[in-house]
């Protein structure tokens, strides 16, 4: 590959560009107008503005992105995750234009990207699926009859994409119409396809997924599991590997099913086969995420492979150089997703300016970030800011390392999930491995940031006072008492002040 256009923004665009640079491949960034100073634009060898902030006018604008790739001589496109990553029309347009799409072929994507179609195919191949799923559609009366037939509660999901966008639990028939129409609007807005589907809701399952890697010569391996049970709004916020719930036998069985899923679909490149694992140890195929996953770094940490480089090699036609029997899981890795959200009020998104960022460092700590001091977090895009990934020898040590790294992750100016996540990874039930998809609602429904203790209060007040006094002078202004006291300080003349936990 001579040049790769990265059709994404934020941390994943940077992640892909780093791999490209290390492989000696120049990159082209595309960006919307407010992203002109974004990190991915700064990192790329070339950057092209492709439109206005709404995704449909820029990051989802297929023709504009194709035209930019051709104009800049990019012979491959990496879509990252989200946006166009699982849009078969985009993959097909790339194929038509002779541009290598770094991901699965459009036909496999079309099959797997549609949960209804992929379920039919997998049932035929003997893959276990969740009971009671049905064909997609948007006729509310028909959906109501199907839901009643399978029995409430049911889940309504977008047929055309993942990430929990649009997903809702419906416990009673009277909730159906509102939930279905909201789901359809979110599906239309996020994926350009309003088709939805229903399935029987399984109580307190674990979310277990298998990373797969497939070349264009029929070779498929799995890179073991990730457990992603810790979710809010049906979207993962903490992921880990290995899962405490898998025995070696179950791991092998699920892994071979994952490989069978990939082979059945004619899948190539990196992908993820998602399963639900119920409390009796039965597992059900959910869907295939036909893209590099947000949580791919934890797999990289325990198997010692660079998944993005593998994607690029496989896409350019190379054979997989790894065999299943050579793969081992080493140690334990955890990822926490840092979102611009307020965990004290239902994880409402919090856009705004980031005033200061300091990322954690240290052995076994990786921070994949798309933010910097002074950047604006836009209302137009997903509120993910960065991903903090730790590796350590054991799960217990990895939990401690994560808690320590989160404590060192300073983001000022907007609300984020760092403090909340530190409490999650130190919760006794989490440390015991008693994780399931209802973990956050069960243990953290009313979470509040602890208020300052006596000494924290003093230090917070003092810090605000000291920051205010020295704000213009920088570090050297310290100690210049005479000059400072000449001018009236806002701290002397100002009114009352309020201190509280953020939120």
């Amino acid at each position: 590959m001579k040049k790769i256009l990265v059709a994404n923004r934020g941390e994943i665009a940077l992640r892909v560009m780093r791999a490209c640079r290390e492989m000696g491949i120049p990159t082209v960034a595309v960006y919307s107008t407010p992203d002109s100073a974004a990190l991915h634009v700064q990192f790329a060898d070339e950057a092209v503005c492709i439109g206005a902030p709404p995704p449909l006018e820029s990051y989802l604008n297929i023709e504009k992105i194709i035209a930019t790739a051709k104009e800049r001589g990019a012979d491959a496109v990496h879509p990252g995750y989200g946006f166009l990553a699982e849009n078969p029309d985009f993959a097909r347009r790339c194929e038509e234009e002779g541009i290598t799409f770094i991901g699965p072929g459009s036909e496999a994507m079309r099959l797997l990207g549609n949960k209804v179609e992929s379920r039919k195919t997998m049932v035929a191949a003997g893959v276990p699926v969740i009971p009671g799923m049905m064909a997609g559609g948007s006729d509310c009366a028909a959906l109501g009859r199907e839901a009643t037939a399978m029995g409430f509660p049911v889940l309504v999901k977008a047929a055309g994409g993942g990430g929990g966008k649009g997903m809702r639990i419906i416990r009673e028939e009277k909730e159906l119409e509102e939930s279905v129409s909201s789901c359809m609007r979110e599906a239309k807005s996020a994926f350009g396809d309003a088709t939805i589907y229903l399935e029987k809701y399984i109580e307190q399952p674990r979310h277990i997924e298998f990373q797969i890697l497939a070349d264009k010569h029929g070779n498929v391996v799995h890179l073991f599991e990730r457990e992603c049970s810790i979710q809010r709004r049906y979207q993962k916020i903490v992921e880990e590997t290995p899962s405490v719930a898998l025995t070696p036998e179950l791991r092998q069985e699920m892994g071979s099913v994952a490989v069978r899923v990939a082979k059945t679909a004619g899948y190539t490149n990196a992908g993820t086969v998602e399963f639900l694992l119920d409390q009796n140890g039965s597992f059900y195929f959910l869907e295939v995420n036909a893209r590099v996953q947000v949580e791919h770094p934890i797999t990289e940490a325990v198997v010692g492979l660079d998944l993005v480089k593998q994607q690029i090699r496989v896409a350019s036609g190379e054979r997989l150089s790894i065999k299943q029997e050579d793969l081992r899981q080493r140690g334990h890795a955890i990822e926490c997703r840092i979102y611009a959200e307020d965990p004290e009020s239902g994880f409402l998104p919090c856009a705004g300016r980031i005033l200061f960022v300091k990322e954690p460092q240290g052995p076994g700590v990786r921070c994949d970030s798309g933010i910097f001091t002074g950047c604006e977090v836009s209302v137009h895009y997903d509120p993910i800011l960065s991903k903090l990934v730790v590796w350590d020898e054991t799960r217990e040590q990895a939990c401690r390392r994560m808690a320590s790294a989160l404590r060192d992750y300073i983001i000022l100016g907007i609300k984020t999930t760092t403090s909340f996540l530190a409490d999650v990874v130190q919760h006794p039930a989490f440390l015991d491995g008693k994780t399931h998809t209802g973990f956050i609602p069960m243990h953290f429904a009313d979470w509040k940031m602890p208020g300052p203790g006596e000494s924290e209060l003093r230090m917070a007040l003092l810090s605000a006072a000291a920051f205010s006094r020295n704000a213009r002078g920088g570090p050297k202004a310290r100690g210049k008492v005479g000059a400072e006291t000449e001018a009236p300080s806002p701290w002397v003349t100002g009114g009352r002040w309020r201190i509280a936990g953020i939120g």
Partner: protein, 171 residues
């Protein structure tokens, strides 16, 4: 120097004298001393009572953001924007201005002016960062005014709808 704060629901007063980075302070009845060293544009090392702290601070629109020990706190003037916003709401006796809890784009306004809505009814659907958020009525009310329509962009705190008690008009 004298600083008046509100901590949670409690008022706190910080009295401080600073000389060469050494601060002599009183918070409430307790006096303490602290050595404050600015170690970066936004970070301080503070030694007080034999303990060492590292704190991070930033400021925007009169509001300070402080991080220490992995927790974040905000310190703001009560005469700032937040106070003014709540004053507008408070001025409407028995009525309520429902404000946007986040910046975003209005997806849908399922209510119309004059309509009586039940508790928990969806008043406005706001999309922010790809998620739809239902803004609901706290209790039964009549919709007095609707300020937004589908497609409008709103900021944090923008008025969405005004509600009034149901009894008021029927009386």
């Amino acid at each position: 120097m004298e600083f008046n704060f509100v901590v949670g629901d409690r008022e706190e007063k910080l009295i401080a004298e600073e000389k060469e980075g050494l601060w002599s302070c009183t918070v409430g009845d307790a006096a303490f001393e602290a050595e404050v060293v600015r170690v970066g544009p936004n970070s301080f090392r503070i030694v007080s009572g034999g303990k060492s702290f590292v704190t991070y601070a930033a400021e925007q629109d009169g509001k300070f953001y402080i991080s220490l020990g992995g927790r974040q706190y905000s310190v703001a003037r009560t005469s700032g924007a937040a106070k003014r916003r709540s004053a507008v709401g408070g001025a409407l006796k028995g009525e309520e201005v429902v404000a946007a809890p986040m910046p975003g784009v209005i997806v849908k306004v399922p209510v119309t002016e004059g309509e009586v809505v039940a508790a928990d009814a969806v008043l406005v659907v706001v999309e922010s960062m790809k998620m739809e958020n239902n803004i609901r009525a706290q209790g039964e009310a009549r919709v007095k005014r609707v300020h937004v329509k589908a497609g409008d962009s709103v900021n944090f705190g923008s008025a969405l709808v005004e509600l009034e008690p149901v009894s008021k008009q029927s009386a």
